[in-house]
Symmetry: C2
Subunit: 332 residues, 2 copies
């Protein structure tokens, strides 16, 4: 019998579809190994080619003065830095000027590497860079939400090889983010507790969906995981905004994230995935009811007409089995 | 300057991204022509192979007694017909038995054809079949919403060649359907008007996003179209539920849908697409505030981390240009 599960925080429903059940091993991708050079003369993200890209907004440098991470405005931005906020509400015409921030975070000078293969220290440098860009964006008075994300691989929406992440900040709070906030606030008003703290504590008690615990962070497959190997990495200590992360938490998150991405890399053969920071809207950074986390979504199945029409997901795997599979993957 | 647009009914936001702007022609897919036979001995949807599939729930027959459309339970159903509704709400454990209906609607006996290539009369027979299955599902007391949909092509989530649609009916109303209903109800309470009627009437006045008008239906690219060539086909006359469609409206919808799918087939070279009926929840079939429609979503771009994290879409084309392009496509 299939099972409908609901996420207590996001209220999303998923059908755990036993009739279509697959084993975790079935999702090991079979990618062709492509020979990619460690430096490419055509890549604007490679060292030496900085002139092919816009001017950097931030660089993290090593002792010799070479950059380790580098941030640049997106050359084809979804939203524009320039311009003021103009809004029209006239019948069905509801529009705003598309102002905002769209940056690329180049994660490493090495063209052909992978976040999963970098050292813990290097991943820490990337998270440090994320925080810098996040806090800088949050100072722009036009900005309401900041989305930090990474698209890895073609199924996840990128064809650029050089490892990079992106930040897009926009002047609106869309309804599905508003909805999550309202639901979290309602839960808090009813119980006096952050619903994400509740989830984390219950998952720690149940244990079966935990993938990895480190000092300050826990990675688990949510009870109502929407797709195979969908994971959350969440800080143990209540904190509404990624921007509030401390230096020592950055080190611990680097450790956690590096191990999780390596488990995916070795266990599922470098799957395409999206990684998204879900953090409070600007101005809500210190609220008691919201809790930031990272969602990792391997792109192993397709969403089709049913998901589009209903908003209900269909997951052909059990979150408990996903977690067990990843726990057992050894990192080399 | 990019433009943020909001759909007055669904409240969804889209960034019309001029920096990444593409012309409608750029989305013409370049599929390899595959030789597919008109009948396949291995296909459980082909005539003569009925024994390979579950027993039919409905068949539409021609004068000779041969089926023209055929409905069967899905062999690997996402939800199960059997069983009673059991629900558990205990902390983060929120689950229900996955009962419901999952049917396949075989659209034609011909293995290698395409909805776009069938006659208006044949498309009418398919819509007639849809209505039959929709009304039958709505009589099941466990069912709250019915999703009728079609996945065409691999990017849309199907690898089965034989033309078919699906119906999935589930015992819950998920929050994003509830949200649309609440927003539509709020608009109705404020203005005394159905927000979808408002959209339709305004689009008819503006004209520039209309793709096709027939007697009872209008096809347009919404002002805040979420992706290239995203279209709605909506009845002119207010009606909350697809199940209420009349026979003469079925004929007119067949005409409209056949032309629209043909324009996509010839103009965009048979793109992969999802087609979804958005209809009132069970029990709300005669409400004044909701209005059913068909959404057609060609799968020409990928949703990535930003869309996942924000719920905001990025459309690299102008809805007005999409509509103009399709208006000008001649059907052979």
């Amino acid at each position: 019998m299939p099972e409908l599960r609901q996420n207590i925080a996001t209220k999303e429903w998923v059908i755990i579809s036993t009739e279509r059940a697959k084993r975790p091993e079935d999702f090991k991708t079979t990618k062709e190994k492509k020979e990619i050079p460690s430096w490419s003369e055509k890549c604007p993200f490679c060292p030496g080619n900085e002139k092919m890209a816009p001017l950097a907004t931030f660089e993290l440098k090593d002792e010799k003065g070479n950059w380790k991470t580098r941030c640049i405005p997106n050359k084809f931005p979804a939203v524009s830095m320039e311009g003021s906020l103009e809004r029209t509400v006239d019948g069905i015409i509801r529009k705003m000027s598309g102002v905002g921030i769209h940056e690329v975070i180049i994660e490493t000078p090495i063209h052909n590497t992978n976040l999963a293969l970098l050292s813990e220290h290097e991943v820490g440098g990337i998270i440090y860079t994320y925080r810098n860009r996040y806090l800088t964006a949050s100072k722009d008075e036009r900005i309401k939400i900041i989305i930090l994300f990474k698209n890895h691989g073609i199924a996840a929406g990128t064809s650029i090889e050089h490892p990079h992440s992106q930040l897009i900040a926009v002047p609106i709070v869309p309804h599905n983010i508003r909805f999550r906030n309202e639901e979290a606030l309602r839960y808090y008003d009813e119980t006096g507790e952050c619903v994400f703290c509740k989830m984390l504590n219950d998952e720690l008690k149940f244990k079966e969906r935990i993938v990895l615990e480190t000092g300050s962070f826990v990675c688990f497959v949510p009870y109502a995981g929407l797709s195979p190997f969908h994971m959350w990495i969440i800080p143990r200590k209540h904190n509404a905004s990624f921007g509030n992360i401390t230096d020592s938490e950055i080190s611990d998150l680097a450790k956690n994230l590096k191990i999780i991405l390596s488990k995916m890399y070795y266990g599922l053969n470098n799957p395409d995935y999206n990684l998204v920071f879900r953090s409070a809207a600007v101005g809500d950074e210190n609220e008691d009811y919201f809790h930031w986390y990272i969602a990792i979504v391997p792109r192993l199945i397709k969403q089709a007409g049913f998901e589009l029409g209903s908003g209900i997901y269909v997951n052909p795997t059990y979150p408990e089995e996903n977690a067990k599979f990843l726990r057992e993957i050894k990192i080399y």
